[in-house]
């Protein structure tokens, strides 16, 4: 029946060269972000197949036969199994997807295969978001979409030049952006589905829950942002910026650890167990009471980078406003799971200027025991010395100021590269080396306090932060990591003591780079870090702008969750019922598609007028105010002469402008070397200056 088109014809057509090149390029583009995330086994298999395909195409080798392909599939599964120990789960799944995608490209022969490869490309692009949701990644993935779409266009229009396909693909992606925004904002968010945990191969730098000498100094080299704090009103002074992360209260003679609360809790009496349960509500009551009595407090939002740790950061004494945040008996905040992606939360903190902690009633006997505990032996000289100082000073307060005075007056140094310490590290530091970073001072001070019976502990966190020049927020970097001590005094509760501040007041007042004094030492291992050039004002602003964008991205896009979506629905439409969601989605999408359709029709119908034409029309509108209307078929020069004859006072300007227009529109281009663009600009100026 001759009139029926042969539908299957298209599928059997073999691939044009152009299309194959496009597929290979888009494969490289799509695979690139995965390279660092996957094991070498998988990546090298992918690279091998890609090279194979390119070479076989150049040398006109036949495509791999059934046996080879079977072998490849087997080796693919083996590679994934070797790399991840499993073939299921998200990471292994993505690895298999990558291999399947590559194998399909290797055997692609027909237009149908090419369509398949393109579909897989889009899918692989989406999986890159499982690992990293950074702004730069999003931009890169949009770029990937342009490349893939260009490949798709070239499959269907093989004769189009690659520039043409790329251009159409770019516009296609551009037009789809509004649709993407609507889908992003209004498609119901299913939270549980995406909360897949990835075991990250690259442990992130950051604080850990134990501290031995040198640990924090290592962070001093790291210039990545740990978190940002956006304050509602005023920002605390530099000396008040102590960001508590975790208390370390278990000392084994060398290393400080966060004591295991679970073991401790089981050994407690019934009464103490009840007390621990009351602790949270007592603290809250105390906090609210102080706040309502008019104590100074800050309210702020922390925008955190992924840390792979569950704990959060806050100024003392904190009270979380966001849901699902826990507080332990060290007054530090945490969430249930390690944070594998950026996290945003809101906190209130009482200003800590009084240096007075929560009431002493909240320090129970079992805690007292924990905060006095020292190894049975070791560092004998330090213990002895502390004993003597305590006897001389007469009171706990006097003892503390005595120790700090000792650090201040004797030759102690604050340095990122302290000498290594042996077994009796406290003795060695206190009497021999006297060079240390914050953890040395905090650890030594806490040890001394405990040895004379003052409950004390080490607190790790960050100290400082740089105010952004763009908005009311502080940037806290990894090198701001800090350790200080906390002692418990009757009637005053927990009091912060920072021995580092005694040695190097600049560390607390100005920040680490000033305290170290030697800017060549600071960030010496990262010569490209923008922070090294912080004295140049433009660089500083650039760095802040980049971080500002990143913060907005984390807050508005990555942090956009179901709750915010519900809020948005209420704010815009007054309801978040299923019906509203459906209506908004349907309405939004259909009106967008309609707008795009209108835009397409309009832009095809009416080619854009060249600038000189628009300017000339503007000139004509000006003249029509004086009653001179140019006839549709009246020549420009003829019109100018008519105007000139009828109102001689305008003759000069009208003739000059018309002559320029004639020059642009009718004269050959290479007349006097003046570029067309310059002439158009000149024309624009003259038309603007012209008035009737």
């Amino acid at each position: 029946m001759g009139f029926l088109p042969k539908m299957t014809n298209d599928d059997a057509v073999s691939l044009p060269k152009n299309t194959l090149a496009f597929l290979i390029v888009s494969h490289i583009v799509v695979i690139t972000p995965h390279i660092s995330k996957h094991s070498y086994w998988v990546i090298s298999l992918v690279g091998l197949c890609l090279v194979w395909r390119i070479v076989s195409n150049m040398r006109h080798w036949p495509l791999p036969g059934k046996g080879v392909r079977f072998l490849l599939v087997i080796s693919g599964f083996s590679a994934v199994y070797l790399a991840y120990g499993t073939v299921i789960g998200p990471l292994a799944g993505v690895g298999l997807l990558l291999l399947a995608y590559t194998f399909k490209l290797l055997e692609a022969k027909t237009v149908r295969d090419a369509h398949m490869v393109v579909t897989l490309s889009y899918f692989v692009v989406a999986t890159a978001f499982l690992f990293d949701q950074a702004f730069s990644k999003a931009l890169y993935l949009l770029f990937s979409c342009v490349v893939i779409s260009a490949a798709l266009i070239s499959i269907n229009q093989p004769s189009t030049h690659w520039k043409g396909s790329s251009k159409s693909a770019f516009y296609l992606v551009l037009k789809s952006l509004p649709i993407m925004v609507v889908l992003f904002l209004f498609v119901p968010r299913i939270e549980a589905f995406w909360s897949i945990q990835f075991d990250n191969h690259h442990a992130r730098m950051g604080l850990s829950d134990e501290m031995s000498p040198g640990d924090i100094a290592r962070l001093g080299e790291n210039d990545s942002v740990a978190f940002r704090a956006k304050f509602e009103r005023n920002i605390p002074l530099p000396a008040e910026r102590y960001w508590r992360a975790l208390v370390l209260d278990d000392f084994d003679g060398r290393r400080w650890r966060h004591a295991d609360r679970g073991v401790e809790l089981r050994s407690l009496s019934k009464k103490d167990q009840d007390a621990t349960k009351r602790q949270g509500s007592e603290y809250n009551a105390w906090f609210l009471n102080r706040r309502d009595q008019g104590d100074n407090y800050f309210r702020y939002k922390i925008i955190m980078e992924a840390s792979d740790k569950p704990w959060l950061f806050a100024l003392d004494w904190a009270h979380p406003l966001s849901a699902n945040i826990n507080m332990d008996d060290g007054f530090s905040l945490s969430v249930a799971k390690p944070l594998t992606e950026p996290f945003v939360y809101q906190v209130e903190s009482l200003s800590s200027t009084t240096l007075t902690g929560p009431p002493d009633g909240m320090h129970w006997q079992y805690q007292r025991k924990r905060n006095l505990k020292l190894p049975a032996s070791g560092n004998e000289r330090s213990r002895q010395w502390a004993e003597n100082v305590r006897k001389e000073s007469g009171s706990d307060e006097a003892f503390i100021s005595q120790i700090l005075a000792h650090f201040r007056e004797q030759k102690f140094y604050y340095t990122l590269r302290p000498p290594l310490l042996g077994t009796d590290s406290i003795d060695q530091f206190l009497f021999t080396t006297r060079r240390g970073f914050c953890e040395h001072y905090a650890s030594t001070f806490t040890f001394l306090a405990r040895s004379v019976g003052i409950p004390a502990r080490v607190v790790v966190g960050y100290q400082g932060g740089e105010q952004s020049s763009l908005d009311n927020y502080l940037l806290v970097y990894q090198f701001d990591a800090h350790a200080w001590a906390e002692v418990w005094l009757p009637k005053r509760g927990w009091v912060r003591v920072d021995p580092t501040a005694a040695v190097s007041p600049a560390r607390v007042e100005k920040g680490i780079e000033d305290a170290l004094g030697d800017s060549r030492r600071f960030l010496a291992n990262s010569p490209l870090s923008l922070l090294r050039y912080r004295d140049i004002p433009g660089v500083r602003r650039l760095r802040h702008s980049i971080d500002y964008l990143r913060m907005l991205w984390i807050q508005k896009v990555v942090g956009y969750n179901g709750r915010l979506q519900t809020d948005l629905f209420y704010k815009l439409f007054g309801s978040s019922s299923t019906k509203t969601v459906m209506l908004v989605l349907l309405g939004g999408l259909s009106s967008l598609l309609f707008l795009i359709f209108i835009f397409d029709v309009y832009s095809k119908r009416k080619p854009r007028m060249p600038p000189e034409q628009r300017l000339y029309l503007r000139f004509c509108r000006k003249l029509s105010k004086r009653g001179f209307n140019k006839g549709v078929s009246e020549g420009e020069t003829a019109f100018a002469h008519r105007v000139a004859v009828n109102s001689p006072e305008m003759a000069e300007g009208v003739l000059r402008i018309t002559a320029l227009y004639v020059q642009i529109n009718y004269r050959p281009l290479d007349r006097d070397g003046v570029g067309r663009k310059q002439r158009v600009n000149q024309f624009r100026k003259q038309v603007s200056a012209f008035s009737v």
Binding site: Q613, G635, Y666
Partner: protein
């Protein structure tokens, strides 16, 4: 040079400067000219003047109903002394031909001339002979309403680049004419201004005159309008649109410009268009005038 030539021609043909300019433009554009008017309006004089001013060899062919193609092209005559046939060239082997009253001859004779015009060569008795490089035909035609005429078909009219009307002279010019030959100059008395070599150069320059994109768009809009169904009996042929461009280029050149303005097109349009297309008066009304008038009032110059 050109303006001097036009001035010189104006000394003989009084008060017809525009028509002289059009005729010169037609010559510079390598086209052929059709003058349509009543007898005694100075058609012959115009062609004589042009031949004189441009230093061209001149032949006049008076078309009559019994004129045969051989009378134009020439014949081979048996030469008794040589014992062979020798070709006796007809009047067409000249640089400027005046084909007077072309519509009085039979169609066969007409087409002999028109084919020669088109191809630049003639074939007589199986032998092809080229015409001069500079070859310019001015045909005159009486209005077809007169008796004893064979009107040229539209396809033949298309071969003339322009058609002009001379019209009655202005009062002042006619007064001088009546006052006798005193002061007025006969065609053969005026100076030769332009040499044939100069004319060839001018023709080459005219083809180089810049047609900007905007001007080409304008010509295309004009052409497109004539091709819309129902408006005109027939649309403008591609030869017609090329004719507009070439005429405008020549017009711009003789006015001292090396680029074409829309005004150039508008000026030459009546001469180029009106013998090629005829408006459908059912569409535009009885008193709608000529095709060029409709186009000039309706088609906008820019977009």
């Amino acid at each position: 040079m050109i303006s001097k030539a036009i001035e010189e021609a104006g000394k003989v043909i009084l008060g017809k400067e525009h028509q002289i300019r059009l005729a010169v433009a037609c010559l510079v554009a390598k086209g052929n000219l059709l003058i349509e008017d009543l007898p005694g309006m100075g058609k012959t004089t115009l062609s004589q003047v042009l031949a004189q001013v441009f230093s061209l060899s001149y032949k006049r062919i008076q078309f009559t109903s019994d004129l045969l193609p051989a009378d134009i092209l020439g014949v081979s005559i048996y030469d008794k002394d040589k014992g062979d046939f020798t070709f006796k060239a007809g009047p067409i082997f000249a640089q400027l031909i005046l084909a007077d009253e072309i519509n009085r001859a039979s169609p066969k004779t007409q087409s002999a001339l028109l084919e020669a015009m088109e191809e630049g060569q003639v074939t007589v008795e199986g032998e092809t002979r080229p015409l001069p490089d500079l070859f310019f035909v001015i045909a005159t035609q009486n209005p077809s309403t007169q008796m004893g005429t064979f009107p040229l078909p539209e396809s033949q009219l298309d071969r003339f680049l322009m058609r002009i009307h001379l019209g009655y002279p202005p009062v002042e010019a006619e007064k001088q004419l009546l006052l006798g030959r005193r002061g007025a100059i006969a065609a053969k008395d005026i100076d030769r201004i332009v040499t044939p070599a100069d004319l060839s150069m001018l023709q080459a320059q005219a083809a180089e005159v810049h047609l900007s994109g905007a001007v080409v768009e304008y010509i295309l809009r004009l052409t497109h309008f004539t091709r819309q169904p129902g408006r005109f009996h027939t649309g403008l042929s591609p030869r017609g649109s090329v004719a507009i461009a070439r005429s405008a280029q020549a017009w711009a050149l003789i006015h001292g410009r090396d680029f074409v303005l829309p005004e150039d097109i508008q000026t030459v349009l009546p001469a180029v268009l009106d013998h090629r297309v005829h408006i459908n008066s059912a569409q535009f009304g009885e008193d709608s005038g000529k095709a060029s008038e409709v186009l000039l009032s309706r088609i906008s110059i820019s977009g």
